[in-house]
Symmetry: C2
Subunit: 222 residues, 2 copies
Amino acid sequence: MNGRAGGPVTIGAMESSSTTPGGSARREATRQKLYEAAVTLIAEQGFSATTVDEIAERAGVAKGTVYYNFASKSVLFEELLRHGVGLLTASLREAAERTAREGGSRVDALDAMIRAGLVFIDRYPAFTQLYVAELWRTNRAWQSTLLVVRQQAVAVVEDVLREGVANGEFSEEIDVPLTAAALVGMVLVAALDWQSFQPERSLDEVHAALSRLLQGRAGGHR
Amino acid sequence: MNGRAGGPVTIGAMESSSTTPGGSARREATRQKLYEAAVTLIAEQGFSATTVDEIAERAGVAKGTVYYNFASKSVLFEELLRHGVGLLTASLREAAERTAREGGSRVDALDAMIRAGLVFIDRYPAFTQLYVAELWRTNRAWQSTLLVVRQQAVAVVEDVLREGVANGEFSEEIDVPLTAAALVGMVLVAALDWQSFQPERSLDEVHAALSRLLQGRAGGHR
DNA sequence: GTTTTTGAACTGACTGGTCAGTGCAAAAAC
DNA sequence: GTTTTTGCACTGACCAGTCAGTTCAAAAAC
């Protein structure tokens, strides 16, 4: 019943994390199942249109279990958000560090992060959908959670840009926050478009197109 | 009560259009009010979380009037989408044509379209929010409408890219559909981020940052 | 024996959609 | 030029259905 093909869409792992320090293994497994059920349903239908009964049914647990494990539908959603973005930032940071370790330039680091972003989106398309759909809303309960979560992800990109400016690799004229936002947006939207409207393309093709754009070989080839 | 400052957020004008060929002036005015009310509410809360009562109240009409003018809540939303994207594509196309008329290159055309996109988003932030939030959802009633509407907007960008490849201005290696999607995404996300998280920046600053990125002056300055 | 899950019943608030009826400006009848 | 009729646009109370969240006794897992 997964809109998209592919194996189990595990959003979790990410160790026990801050969510519940002393959760038993069994409980953690139940939460995991609930995350997975919730992420796909909410991505498809949106938060409000998704019922708790649906989530419980898809996770294969009783409705009471949802409320035994989470205080409310909103809380379940917020913890899900934190969970997923933790994974993403870890993956981005890892890519940047690996590049640095291997003596690559900052452009190489950005390129590696683009790929890491694409891999993440390819693996957890539902999470990405849901994130984009909710990020720019206003007046919602979890607005503050989203703000933190966004800052975490964008900060990784900003760091690399700043390092590049510091070591002279990038022009000092670049606007770090805006450029970081634009880069994240480019990857996010290109990837979602790929998944939704051009699923026949390979990850490498998408990566190549974005890489070219990053290095300015689209506007005026040389 | 408009989340953002500024004058009346008229999404309409766009002449009588195809929606209702023989609508009376009064009726058209009512529909316009309903569009304006719906676009901000749905952008803030999402489609499902927005009630028809709310829309009616904000528009200053009775609930029955909504159903007198639109078959259902979904139909109101679909017509709203078509309405807004019509405006956007018209604006993008106009920018591209103006540039061509003035003898600019295709890069100039892309640049002009970026600015036109930013101006549009600045003027109708709610519509943009709503569009992004709903575009990549699956299994929704208006999925087909969105597909058409997206294709319209992206096609304008693709056309310019193709022309650029044809006249040798762009490398033949560029992947037109993917690059177009990435460009649109870059503008969309950068603009939304600007509005939501960096509202102190001016349109010119945002435009400059995106322009630089387009011309590759971010990755490897020259 | 303690923790976790189950599953079904229940509540109270809310929602999309309906419909009989109102207001009113222009046309028709006189 | 006054009265009557027409029908479009709008109204808002109402209804049937839905949903988040609660409760709890009993079973299952640990």
